[in-house]
Amino acid sequence: MAKKFLSGNEAFAYGVRLARPQVISAYPITPQTIVVEKLSEFVEDGSLNAEFIHVESEHSALSCAIGASSVGARAFTATSSQGLLYMAECLPYAAGGRFPIVMMNANRSTALPWNIYGDQRDSLSQLDSGWIQAYAGNAQEALDLALMSFYIAEHSEVSTPFMANLDGFVLTHTYEVVDVPTQEQADAFLPGYETENKLDLQNPRNLAFSAGPDTNTFFKYKEHLGILNASEIIDKAEERFAEIFGRRYSGLTESYQTEDAEYILITLGSISGLVREAVDKLRAEGKSAGLLRLRYLRPFPNEEIANAVKNAKALAVLEKDISFGNEGTVYTNVNSALQKAGIELPTSNYIGGLGGKNISFEEIINIFDELEKQRSTVKFLGIGGEANGD
């Protein structure tokens, strides 16, 4: 391993290079651009033997990756925000076709108002597209996720495309010291992609066909099972990863001080670093606070959430998203997990960080303070008055 000073984007690009993709099709968009720029440099300098295809749009970027995957190639693409939305038509195509493409998405606000900064509305709006969705917390995890994503997506029991999300700017553009594994280690971890789901002259197959009302549900059910199977394969991948690289991850969620916590904040992405510090401060003051970070939203960690919060008095969900006319989408999913597990708990939803607005340490402390009052509400951080639920 070599230690390098890398941004989240660069770390992810290094991870992708280690995975030896055969085709990279991409279109640049802030704050994702650096990933594919870096990969194009790797292809240019000969350190990555891949076909780099600079397409004319994001719709084409994913279509091209689908084409590559349909001849059995390991395919990668990356995008963000409007680019992801432009790909929207192709997302369920890749998922339904069971093409295990890996895509990095730099989480960014969606227009209008036009805004290039980070929030999670882009990927959360595509939660139902049939893709695995992971959210990295730091640059090291981004690199490791890049490598693991191919293993998980391509596993024969999963065969599902994988969207790895990095918070725009906060994670994609900030620098950290990152352990970059050797190619030998990466090769020991990740086998080549083998599939029968491909066009093959020796064994001609009809790909991406129609299925009418009589058989359609079967295909959709199998697609559902594939993404559910990912839970187990994620554990397997992380176990294998720990053996080879010595870094251990904790599956669909990451708990911090939740075991005896009375008040738990559930969140995702890079903001969890700041929440961890807030938990430390509150613990030092004798308050019983905990953090549950959702590392994956699909498959959704229903049981992990129920286990982590079953002894809590109240919980809050902090997310950079709003499903207009209702509440934050992560909040909806979390409440569903509690309801299925028969857990009755006051829950609150905090909508923050929209369009890149900073979420402060004090705001996180305030969330915990408010949780002790155990009110159930949906609040927007950083705006007062009626909109704030007061």
Binding site: G97, R98, S159, R205, N206
Partner: protein, 96 residues
């Protein structure tokens, strides 16, 4: 070889492939229900140029021995073959 209708029709979970991928040329349902005129080939006028085969958007025209035939399970009745046929060997007839 053109794809054709087979006997095996998947009806259960076990019959369904894991991905939308299956042995090539395997058609499981007819698709011609909206045709209201059908092309009929007069093989005495046909010169076997196969222009109709080249122009057919659905690939339903095929050679059977020395004769040209149409797979009515999949012909949509668009009439392009009739228009393109120089010897006038293909006439469109109303479906009854």
């Amino acid at each position: 070889m053109k794809p054709f209708l087979r006997d095996f029709i998947p009806t259960s979970y076990e019959d369904i492939p894991d991905a939308t991928a299956f042995e090539a040329g395997y058609l499981v349902t007819k698709n011609a229900g909206w045709r209201n005129i059908r092309p009929v080939i007069d093989n005495t006028k046909c010169v076997g140029c196969l222009n109709c085969y080249l122009y057919c958007p659905d690939g339903v025209i095929f050679r059977e021995g020395s004769k040209i035939n149409i797979d009515y399970d999949f012909c949509k009745g668009c009439g392009i073959c009739s228009k393109i046929c120089k010897p006038g060997a293909i006439k469109m007839e109303a479906e009854k």
